[in-house]
């Protein structure tokens, strides 16, 4: 990569770090930069320490990386926590009113309130805009787009606030341009087709909308809430019923009721909230009611680390619920996969009449990625698989069929529809006929055969015959892909195999994709290698080494490479 620049902006919660990062990222994408930014925050609304890491390049980015070229410190803690990551030619841009200690021998650019604005109080509010201006100046990017964005962002607060931000940004820009820097984005040009900047959870939200979602019900919990919020913000525009439930148990049961009545419905949560939903997951399984559930992981057990990331719920999601019942589990690795797999989840749920769980995590959900619009399909095929027309004799909601799939009808559109959580007869009424129980259980399980045959979702990168294979799933795709790219660039042939359709396990496709690796390393974000256990259980193939991470911070290519060096 000709350009590969890491900017960290840190401050206390409530200082507007997220707002300003969002504005900067959007401007830079419009200018033609490839941008990827990661949010790191604590479980609090004000104070504490939070930071955003923006990576910029002229090449597509799949992952964040370690190291800092430009550090924007809006508090002292930012300097303390990140100084060791600063590159030798790095620059610290800091708010001189609060940052008093700086490391020796490092280039710095002080922003003082007086330099930015005459009005002391206003300058404190506009320090973000000043810092943004300074960044644009340092990187030799035109100022105008920032001014336009500040107008858009602060218009509602009145012309005085816009004025302060504009003055501060212009002053910061002059300081940045005067200071100069070895990095430059001056050569970057805007793309012919505008690119998209969106987070994993935003991609999930629009995937659901594209698939015809009509009702979402949920209870707030980090990190899943951002999906609920993203759909909520679009509800009026796109005709969606969004209902905040009294608890997660109500959320899933309400979604089940809505799906029974015939609309595409969705719920979701994070680990603890999903744990509350489990009994009703079985209801959807037994009553064969289509349902899409988004589970966004955060580190457990119990409350764990509420705002951090992990892939620790896989085993739980695969087996949650009493008894045997079919389900599907999908785990996207990029926003484009998130969009496509969410839309696919709705089709699978309808066609196989079962719950489909889409797994994400805080890193995937909150991280913003740059995409080409061509990474998304122009249209989504919607397969409802609902029977209509006259019924021959008595309608049986759970008719025994070879595929295990019974004709699904909707209540209020013809014959009555009976659905039951008890073991039931084909017409949907409770039974204690034990022979019928076996037939009905077999019927439900048969759905897995057809479903497993159509799952695949495998992404490979690198030479097929590479002696080293790194396997991963879900949000680990980006860091592993970059680690593999770097290994190959350094003449260490390596290959990535990424899995996104996890259950029913596509064992044949997975075994085919893995081949006979000389050395298989599983990379996942949990303490025990949950996917590796699944792989071994379903294929007999197990990893030679596990690269695990469960400290709550995102996976990075550097972490993987260090771990591999340790195994060498």
């Amino acid at each position: 990569m000709a350009i590969d620049l890491n900017i960290v902006i840190g401050g206390a919660a409530g200082q507007g770090v997220h707002t300003i990062t969002g504005l900067l990222a959007k401007i830079l994408v419009r200018q033609g930069c490839q941008v990827l930014f990661v949010q790191d925050y604590q479980s609090r609304v004000r104070g504490g320490h939070l930071f955003n890491r923006i990576r910029l390049s002229d090449q597509p980015l799949l992952s964040s990386r370690e190291g800092i070229d430009l550090l924007v410190a809006l508090n002292q803690e930012t300097v303390q926590l990140h100084r060791d990551e600063l590159a030798p030619d790095g620059v610290i841009i800091y708010d001189a009113s609060v940052v008093k200690e700086l490391p020796a021998g490092v280039s710095t650019l002080a922003l003082t309130a007086g330099d930015l604005l005459a009005e002391q109080k206003a300058a404190e509010l506009a320090i973000n805009a000043g810092a943004s201006g300074a960044l644009m100046g340092l990187l030799k990017v035109p100022l105008e787009p920032l001014m336009a964005m500040l107008l858009e962002a602060f218009e509602a607060k009145g012309s005085e606030v816009v004025g302060w931000n504009h003055k501060a940004a212009a002053a910061g820009y002059r300081l940045g341009a005067a200071a100069g820097n070895s990095h430059s984005l001056a050569g970057i040009t805007a793309p012919a087709q505008p690119r998209l900047l969106l987070s994993g959870h935003e991609a999930i939200a629009v995937g659901a909308l594209a698939a015809g979602l009509q009702l979402i019900c949920g209870y707030p919990m980090t990190p899943w809430s951002s999906v609920l919020n993203a759909i909520g913000q679009r509800a009026d525009r796109f005709g969606v019923v969004v209902e905040q439930a009294e608890d997660e148990i109500a959320a899933i049961n309400l979604a089940i009721g809505a799906s029974y009545a015939g609309v595409r419905a969705m719920t979701g949560s994070s680990g603890g909230g999903f744990a509350l939903m489990v009994e009703a997951l079985g209801l959807a399984g037994c009553a064969e009611i289509p349902l899409v559930i988004l589970e966004s992981q955060r580190p457990g057990p119990s409350t764990g680390l509420p705002t951090r990331t992990e892939q620790g719920d896989l085993s739980f999601l695969l087996y949650a619920g009493q008894g045997d019942f079919p389900r599907a589990v999908l785990a996207p690795g990029t926003p484009a996969q998130g969009f496509a797999l969410t839309a696919r989840a709705f089709n699978l749920a309808d066609r196989y009449q079962l719950p489909v769980i889409v797994i994400t995590d805080q890193y995937f959900g909150d991280t913003n990625f740059t995409h080409e619009s061509g990474d998304f399909p122009a249209a989504v095929e919607i397969e409802r698989a609902i029977a209509t027309g006259p019924v021959d004799g008595v309608y049986e909601r759970y008719a025994l069929t070879n595929s295990g799939i019974s004709p699904r009808r909707l209540p209020g559109f013809g014959p009555v529809v009976a659905a039951d959580s008890d073991e039931h007869t084909p017409d949907g009424h409770l039974t204690e006929d034990l022979a019928m129980r076996v037939q009905m259980q077999d019927k439900r399980q048969r759905k897995l055969t057809g479903l497993a045959d159509e799952l695949d979702g495998i992404t490979s990168l690198g030479p097929d015959d590479a002696p080293l294979t790194l396997a991963c799933w879900g949000s680990s795709l980006g860091p592993v892909a970059e680690a593999v790219t770097r290994l190959n660039a350094a003449s260490t042939p390596a290959r990535m195999v990424h899995f996104s359709e996890l259950w029913p396990f596509p064992a044949a496709a997975v075994a085919r994709s893995l081949g006979r690796p000389q050395k298989l390393v599983m990379v996942e974000m949990n303490a025990t290698g949950q996917f590796n256990r699944l792989l071994r259980q379903e294929t007999g193939i197990g990893a030679d080494h596990l690269v695990l991470k469960y400290d709550g911070a995102p996976l990075t290519p550097e972490y993987i490479l260090r771990a591999l060096a340790g195994h060498a």
Binding site: P194, R195, L196, L197, L198, E202, V206, L209, A210, G212, Q214, L215, C217, R234, F238, G239, V240, V241, E243, A245, E246, I249, A250, A251, N253, L254, A255, I256, G257, A258, S259, Y260, A261, G262, V263, E279, A280, G282, L283, A287, S373, F376, P377, A378, V380, L410, P411, G412, G414, P415, V416, V417, A418, A419, D420, S421, D422, G428, H429, L430
Partner: protein
């Protein structure tokens, strides 16, 4: 009026003499008189003897899990408010396991009917105390008598401005049919509690016990179901005299009305167009 055999369900597994039979008969009568066809109504039940109620009737139905009738019923209403929706729950199901959903429904006012089969005992699990078992009653699990006072669910409902509140008695079929009809046609959340003797596990609160105590509140000289304070007193009255009839009525905006999307008709009949390009435009 529609013929009663239109609603014929599967054979029942209730004990002979169960109070549920009186409820089933009165409910069918109400549907027939209101001319609500089986395909126009959806019943949602949970677990308990009340959970079997929809099976013994021909109608759209989900027999879901314990305590969760109200969220499922609310989901059906939000997806298709062209359907009449009735949640049938027991005292344990609704006042115990699913208490949070009752509080929420009272707040949100979904336009549906909740029928609570109150037999003051857990019958399906063979005789433990329920939230409405009277204090001091000895049961299988409470051999020294239930130490706590019963839950005054009806009083909670009044305190939270329930849109319609009534109580019936399974032993007074005609009166109960009238209550079902009012609850089914009321716009807003209607809570109808029905005293329904368990002949197997509740030897205290028998048909005779209720028969001696219930009185038609609507015949009282001070009858005033629009008066919150009066209704609160009647909702809490329990002992030698137990009021039955319509206790409280209040016109309130419904949950369905709170969702602008639903003004265009039932969600299930809407087919919104959502081009991918329009969805992605926000991210440029």
């Amino acid at each position: 009026m529609l013929p009663l055999d239109l609603y014929q369900g599967i054979e029942s597994a209730w004990c002979p003499g169960c109070g549920n039979f009186g409820m089933l008969k009165a409910f069918k009568q109400a549907l027939a008189e209101l001319e609500i066809k089986p395909e126009e109504i959806a019943l949602v039940s949970g677990i308990g003897q009340s959970g079997k109620f929809p099976h013994y009737l021909k109608c759209n139905m989900i027999n879901g899990i314990h305590g969760r009738t109200l969220p499922v019923a609310t989901g059906i209403r939000l997806a298709n408010h062209g359907l009449k929706v009735v949640a049938t729950a027991g005292d344990g199901d609704c006042y115990g396991e699913g208490g949070n959903h009752l509080l929420s429904a009272l707040r949100k006012n979904p336009d549906l009917t909740l029928v609570v089969h109150n037999n003051q005992i857990y019958a399906l699990t063979k005789g433990q105390a329920s939230p409405t078992t009277d204090q001091g009653i000895k049961t299988l699990l409470q051999p020294h008598g239930v130490p706590y006072p019963p839950l005054h669910a009806l009083a909670i409902a009044v305190a939270q401005d329930v849109s319609w509140l009534g109580r019936g008695f399974a032993g007074r079929g005609e009166h109960l049919t009238g209550l079902y009809k009012q609850a089914l046609t009321h716009k807003g959340f209607a809570l109808l509690e029905v005293l329904q003797p368990c002949v197997s596990f509740n030897k205290v609160n028998t048909f005779q016990w209720y028969e001696k105590r219930v009185y038609d509140v609507e015949a009282e000289p001070d009858y005033d179901p629009e008066n919150e304070l009066w209704a609160y007193q009647k909702a809490k009255e329990w002992g030698d005299r137990i009021p039955i009839g319509v206790i409280y009525r209040r016109s309130r905006p419904t949950l369905e009305e709170a969702h602008p999307v639903l003004q265009a008709g039932p969600l299930v009949r809407q087919h919104p167009e959502r081009p991918v390009a329009a969805l992605l435009a926000d991210f440029i």
